[in-house]
Amino acid sequence: MSDKKEVVLEVDNLRVDIPVSAGVLHPVRGISFDVSRGETLCIVGESGCGKSLTSLALMGLLPKKAHRKADRLNFLGQDILDFDERQMARLRGVKMAMIFQEPMTSLNPSYTIGNQLEEVYLRHMASNRLEARERAIFLLDRVGISSAGSRLGQYPHQLSGGLRQRVMIAMALMCGPDLIIADEPTTALDVTIQAQILHLLAELQSDFDMAMILITHDLGIVARVADKVQVMYAGRTVEEGNCESVFDNPRHPYTSGLLRCIPVPGKTQPGQKLGTVPGVVPNLVGEISGCMFRNRCEFANDECKQLSDTPTVLDDGHAYSCRLSTNEIDAVIGD
């Protein structure tokens, strides 16, 4: 605990701009975070909050029209903000790897999984097919796929969804990356398989001592796997901090609102009314001043129109962007 782990990725004020006919769309409006080795950062938010674009921006996989800006983007002590496509290609898949949501669409149906696994290794590691094959078998075995050798000759459609996602994980690990970005890795899977895949990811992460960024909309997953949490809303971070602190003591009305939306066996009574967050996400074209959440917030008043961007920091790095003082929120939510 005492020794400080190496910081793998440092992001400061990351923004994504996409020019559209109505102006400039800002899906990501300045978010900052860092992840260290062996640490899991969860980015959580609803659809359209910019969480997936954040991950694509980090990987340098944004669509051509989109522009990435940041004050700082350091990966393993290197400034990668101005890396061109060739330099990024040397990092992607080797030092940073990504696991996507839909294992059926992210695997190529016309190649065997052995072929696809080996390709990554051959492309980046200057090795021969035999070594690549050994590595593939080792990793398939490691992600819990039995009779790995014979699986290499199979095509993606011959595998179940859970096995496909295991293959995706093995593929991400082929070159021994320092950072894994998993974008909704279990959304398409059954609950039982979801638990297995998350269990596996957590185990591999500590075994290989990687940093992991996990992007999800499921607060249950976040609570179970995260070390640090970032709650995103409309392209900004509304609350961040270590997992226990955020879940035990949610400060931003959006975070606490989301937590009241989900039925929890044992906590919510069957049939009881669930909490809601009415309204919709604001239009993200152009600049928005003040608190982005104010049109859906039950505590909002005129002050929220000129909220400054400096978050309130509690002890332990737990920070939130809301003008309401802790006491004010407690007075309403407390009971």
């Binding site: 859970g162 609950v191 979801q194 607060l219 609570a223 989900i262 929890v264 066996p265 069957p270 049939g271």
Partner: protein, 319 residues
């Protein structure tokens, strides 16, 4: 006291023929294997299980969209064979998972919601607009969306349109097939609240199909757990969630990730082998994945064991 069943399946089976290749002939795939399920009037029955276990096939059979290979479906105690599809559709309506694909993108909301009225020729066409407005109000949509197209609405609004379309015929039973899994959490809670309100207001009966057990626990009075075409456990919701019997139900329950930062990811001990439904394991179909299997499990299919309205199909309880 006799409970009236709005909908009842009596040992319903559904077998599909799966082609193995040009010269290999076909093999049977038993999607639903002798399932009996009662849906009492005014209650919510939850149906849970992994994908491929036959939940949706069972739903299609109950909706009359698929005829069972054997067995019978009773509507309010009368055999389904006596009813036409049109008649069944007036009593049972579905709400599907994905409101992005279940609404016709080229029609206005008004036209989508009033379609059942047009098909079944209910009332004078002049009253339809009023009925649509009434439904929009009931599901919490402003009257102006009547002229909108689905693409102009958010996911939650679309699901409300789908609910309005299902309810405009005033059906007795609504089969909700994963009604909230395509939606965001904040929208999910709104839709669940709406479904609860509508049930009390209109006296509806729901079959709630979901893989989200927290949602099923919240909504259902009675829960059936399905595995490879069989219902392996069935009990009152409160009992099932407190004292699950079948090892599969226990694994399912342990996979529910509640937002508790002090707990890690559970180890379900289910293994990675998923059984092939064309070639199901001998004996209990769950035994290759079961952590508490005993010798008999691979030899003999367990018989249903009923105790205090709590049915479980497992050798651990059938002695």
């Amino acid at each position: 006291m006799k409970q009236e069943n709005a909908l009842e399946a009596i040992s319903v089976s559904c077998v599909f023929k799966i082609n193995q290749g040009l010269f290999k002939g076909s093999k049977p795939l038993v999607a639903v294997n002798g399932v009996s399920l009662k849906i009492p009037k005014g209650k919510v029955v939850g149906l849970v299980g992994e994908s491929g276990c036959g939940k949706s096939t069972l739903a299609n059979i109950l909706l009359g969209l698929q005829s069972p290979t054997s067995g019978e479906v009773l509507y309010s105690g009368k055999a389904a064979s006596g009813f036409s599809n049109r008649h069944i559709a007036r009593r049972i309506q579905p709400i599907f998972q994905d409101p992005y694909s279940s609404l016709n993108a080229t029609k206005t909301v008004k036209s989508i919601i009033s379609l059942p009225l047009r098909i079944h020729k209910i009332g004078e066409p002049i009253t339809w607009d009023g009925k649509v407005r009434e439904m929009l109000d009931l599901v919490g949509l402003p009257a102006r969306v009547a002229e909108s197209y689905p693409s102009q609405l958010s996911g939650g609004q679309r699901q409300r349109v789908a609910i309005a379309r299902a309810l405009i015929m005033r059906p007795e039973v609504v089969i909700c097939d994963e009604p909230t899994s395509a939606l965001d959490v904040s929208v999910q809670s709104q839709i669940l609240n709406l479904l609860q309100d509508l049930r009390l207001e209109l006296g509806l009966t729901y079959l709630m199909i979901s893989h989200n057990l927290a949602v099923v626990e919240h909504m259902a009075d009675r829960v059936a757990v399905m595995y490879l075409g069989r219902i392996v456990e069935e009990a009152e919701s409160a009992v099932l969630f407190k004292e699950p019997k079948h090892p599969y139900t226990r694994a399912l329950l342990s996979s529910v990730l509640t937002p508790d930062p002090r707990l890690g990811v559970p180890d379900t001990q289910l293994g990675t082998i998923f059984p092939n439904p064309i070639d199901p394991p001998a004996g209990c179909s769950f035994h290759p994945r079961c952590a508490s299997r005993i010798d008999i499990c691979s030899q003999k299919t367990p018989a249903p064991h009923l105790e205090k309205q709590h049915m479980a199909e497992c050798h651990l309880f059938s002695k």
